[in-house]
């Protein structure tokens, strides 16, 4: 499965080695069944969610406030949050990223007030 079929066929037909410079990511080809790795979208999404968790935790707020803020930001991070803004509430598609970003800013700003409240002076 790691062979590049296009390279092989091009080379055979041209009777000269041709490397088209594209290769399959080997991490997508595990040695165990089912031999196909995790779907790209899910792995990328998992990394994005991990990054969001880390970023919210880095604010340094108490655990409960961090957990609540993390949940809300994660909820806003997916397509399932953005499409209803358009379908149900009529927001233009091009405005939705800014609206969500602004909402996230509000959540983080509120989270930072918790840090201030509990930080010894």
């Amino acid at each position: 499965m790691t062979d590049n079929v296009e390279n092989v066929m091009l080379s055979l037909q041209a009777n000269t080695p041709i490397d088209q410079g594209a290769a399959v990511d080997r991490t997508n080809i595990p040695s165990e069944f089912p031999y196909f790795g995790a779907p790209v979208r899910r792995s990328r999404r998992a990394k994005r969610l991990d990054a969001i968790r880390a970023a919210v935790e880095a604010v340094g707020a108490p655990a409960q406030a961090t957990a609540e803020a993390t949940a809300m930001v994660l909820r806003l991070s997916g397509a399932d949050a953005s499409w209803p803004l358009h379908d149900s509430y009529g927001l233009p598609l091009e405005r939705i990223p800014d609206v969500i970003a602004h909402t996230v800013e509000l959540i983080i700003r509120d989270l930072r007030t918790h840090v201030t409240d509990e930080t010894p002076t």
């Binding site: 499965m1 590049n4 079929v5 296009e6 066929m9 091009l10 037909q13 041209a14 000269t16 041709i18 490397d19 088209q20 410079g21 594209a22 290769a23 399959v24 990511d25 997508n28 080809i29 069944f33 089912p34 031999y35 196909f36 790795g37 995790a38 779907p39 790209v40 979208r41 899910r42 990328r44 909820r75 997916g78 399932d80």
Partner: protein
């Protein structure tokens, strides 16, 4: 190497140039319109000791521009010629149920379909949905079946790699009378970060045929809402390129391309002719013959 062959080699998955009906991958209009029926790649290789692995992929760009499910009326089949007569003697058929979502699998819900695998031999291998059920379960997870059979069907990364930018430049250079393989060297993999839906089966090699024999395989996708079934997509068949995979005696790891020398698919010629005449629509819910 003419432009037609280049289209065949590079344009099929890349969408480069004019539509070409490839020799190794034969798709009817409905298969191009419905990604769930659009057969992309076929893999055949040795698995765990004593087993053979077969895989097919459909749904280019699954989950974004294409569904991440299988066609409810699709018949996805791995077909094997085990006695060199250019016809299938053993076929593994996979069918799927209505698409739904699994519960308790996270906020997005995991797409899920029921699936059923049948092993057909003799006359059942060539047509219809008949055969012995050897595994059943749901998509998105590994399903264990009878006697060491395993199947996974679901969303998976696209394991095809090609340099789209290079391919376009290569074709342009060729059209200008130049052979320019150097245009490939700086390009990225067009298929990186894309998903397909895959059907992967691992079966005891003995369930395909005599491990001492050379076995040839190809895959098809048919619609079973029609009566009789209509094959709409096939990997394998037709000159001039190597058109199916052959496993050498012993079913070793070496996967070879080899062209069948005799006509095949005779039993489906009538369907192919009908489809060529534009009758590629189908009536759902009629059931396969």
């Amino acid at each position: 190497m003419g432009p037609g062959l280049l289209d065949l080699l590079l344009g099929v998955r890349l969408g480069v140039g004019e539509a070409v009906e490839p020799g190794r991958r034969n798709r009817r209009p409905i298969a191009r319109e419905d990604p769930r029926l659009n057969l992309l790649d076929f893999y055949l290789f040795r698995g765990q000791p004593g087993t053979t692995v077969m895989a097919m992929t459909v749904n280019p760009n699954a989950g974004t521009k294409a569904p991440d499910t299988f066609h409810q009326e699709g018949l996805y089949a791995f077909r094997f010629d085990v006695n060199d007569d250019a016809h299938e003697e053993v076929t593994f058929k996979i069918r799927f149920g209505e698409a739904g979502h699994a519960e308790g699998e996270g906020p997005e819900g995991r797409p899920m379909q029921t699936l059923e695998v049948r092993r057909a031999a003799g006359s059942d291998a060539a047509a219809g949905t008949g055969g012995k059920v050897i595994a059943s379960g749901t998509t998105g997870r590994i399903v264990a079946g009878d006697a060491g059979v395993r199947i996974f069907a679901g969303l998976a990364p696209d394991l095809f790699a090609a340099n789209r930018t290079g391919a376009v430049a290569f074709r342009a250079a060729l059209a200008a009378g130049k052979f320019a393989p150097d245009v490939f060297h700086d390009g990225a993999n067009y298929f990186q970060n894309r998903n397909v839906t895959a059907i992967v089966m691992e079966v005891p090699t003995q369930s395909i045929g005599d491990p001492a024999a050379t076995v040839r395989g190809w895959v098809t996708v048919s619609l079973c809402g029609h009566a009789p079934e209509v094959q709409v997509s096939r990997w394998g068949g037709g000159a001039p390129v190597p058109d199916h995979l052959a496993l050498r005696p012993g079913f070793g790891g070496l996967v070879r391309f080899r062209r069948l020398q005799r006509p095949r698919y005779d039993g489906q010629r009538g369907e192919r002719d009908a489809l060529t005449a534009g009758q590629h629509s189908y009536r759902p819910g009629r059931g396969c013959r």
